[in-house]
Amino acid sequence: MINLALADDETLFLETLSFMLDRHSEFNVLFSATNGQELVDQLRDCAIMPDVILTDLKMPILNGVEATKKIRTEFPEIKIIALSSYDTDVFISNMLGVGATSYLVKNSKPEEVYKTIKEVHEKGFYYNEKLLSILHQNSQNQNFKKSALDNKLISDREKEVLELICKQHTTKEIADQLILSHRTVDRHRDSLLTKTNSRNVAGLVAFAIQNSLVPFK
């Protein structure tokens, strides 16, 4: 069971989303909020923490971007999925930049919503093709400031692990494929997180793609 919290200033949308997710046996909506501040306040008060939050970007009082920043600092273990009417690159880039683990346009099909939440819960992030191509575009953009990270800092083995992480493989799948132990894969991943200064896997993948550490297909 994945515990969820929702935030959107359009109550009709919030009700529908809540109804839709509650009907699904794998999800449980703990609470919903109509603005970012309400969301943060409820998180501070609640007994059971949500695993995943779905939040709108444009909300009164505290918007989705600012709320995400706060939640990332206070509750780093909660995964955040951004919701928006628009799939403009700048919005998506910005949300991923402040620590969202995925991005959904509001007219996504219910299946896409279910899948995104599950992937985010299991693997820490979910980048669909649209998101991946935006990250890739950033790596091609002259104005995008690449990290000064020395490529040699990352071993070949780590690169292999990183590539598989970017392809959304689970630790078990990576271990099987590279014939390594579960623990070794974990160790490589932690080392990658430290080296790239990423706070979570979503950040690591974004970093890897934007800095062209892994080939983009």
Partner: protein, 268 residues
């Protein structure tokens, strides 16, 4: 005798020379005076023109500012009201696909779609109406203001409105400018003035005259003008009208607008 004549001749000569010098000096003086005064007139002309240009620039700046403010508002309405409701409709419609839905849940989703559709329709109608009231185009300024006044549902406010203008003699643009001035005046009164009475009359005498009075808190006229006021100013300017305003703290406002009948729309 000859001496006297000689003297007289010399005197005449002196006088003649003096006269000539005087005439020359006078002519030079006249020419100089003429040149100087012409220069002064030109300078005065330039000043007048500068003031006119400055006024036109102000009008242009105010117009652009108003336009931007209006666009921001339209964009926000489109996003907040219309896109948001369309997302509700889209999500609910997707859910209806679910074959396992209970009858009552299906009813709930349908009701939500209907609510969102109704609200979207209302919002688009209002937005279109704000951009250009359909009544203005079809039935003219008088009816449009009547509709506008009726739409102000405020129990605390007594509005008196009369209009005898012949819209036939006004272009659609002029009617729209006048309508916007009226809207702006009412907005100011309702938002800031705490007025309980408003009187608006559009009368035709020598000129086409519009007067607007409220009994609100008034204001101290200062050099700086708000966006609403500069919006009014620029429309009065475009209409080639004259506006006077009497107001002071706690004494309401009294505006008089005079527009020449058949005033040509010129920017001169």
């Amino acid at each position: 005798m000859s001496v006297i004549i000689q003297i007289t001749n010399t005197t005449i000569n002196y006088v003649a020379i003096g006269l000539m010098i005087f005439i020359i000096l006078f002519s030079v003086g006249m020419v100089v005076f003429f040149l100087l005064s012409r220069k002064r007139i030109t300078l005065a002309d330039l000043d007048v023109r500068d003031i006119k240009i400055k006024a036109q620039e102000d009008v242009l700046a105010a117009t652009l500012l108003t336009q931007d403010r209006e666009r921001t508002r339209v964009a926000r309405e489109l996003h907040d009201e219309i896109s948001a409701k369309l997302n509700v409709i889209s999500l609910n419609a997707s859910l209806l696909n679910d074959k396992t839905l209970e009858h009552q849940d299906r009813e709930l989703l349908l009701a939500r779609i209907q609510t969102a559709t109704r609200k979207t329709l209302e919002n688009t109608r209002r937005l279109a109406h704000d951009l250009l009231p359909p009544v203005l185009e079809k039935f003219g300024l008088g009816q449009a203001i009547t509709e506008f006044v009726d739409s102000i549902h405020n129990g605390q406010l007594l509005i008196t409105y009369t209009c005898d203008w012949d819209e036939e003699t006004l272009t659609t643009e002029d009617q729209l400018h006048t309508y916007r001035i009226v809207q702006e005046l009412f907005n100011n009164s309702i938002k800031y003035s705490e007025a309980t009475q408003i009187e608006l009359s559009l009368i035709t005498a020598v000129n086409r005259r519009m007067t607007y009075r409220d009994n609100g808190i008034g204001f101290q006229e200062t050099g700086s003008v708000g966006l609403g006021t500069s919006n009014i100013n620029s429309r009065v300017f475009i209409l080639g009208g004259i506006m006077t305003l009497e107001t002071s703290i706690n004494n309401g406002v009294f505006y008089i607008f005079d527009f020449q009948t058949n005033a040509p729309m010129t920017y001169d």
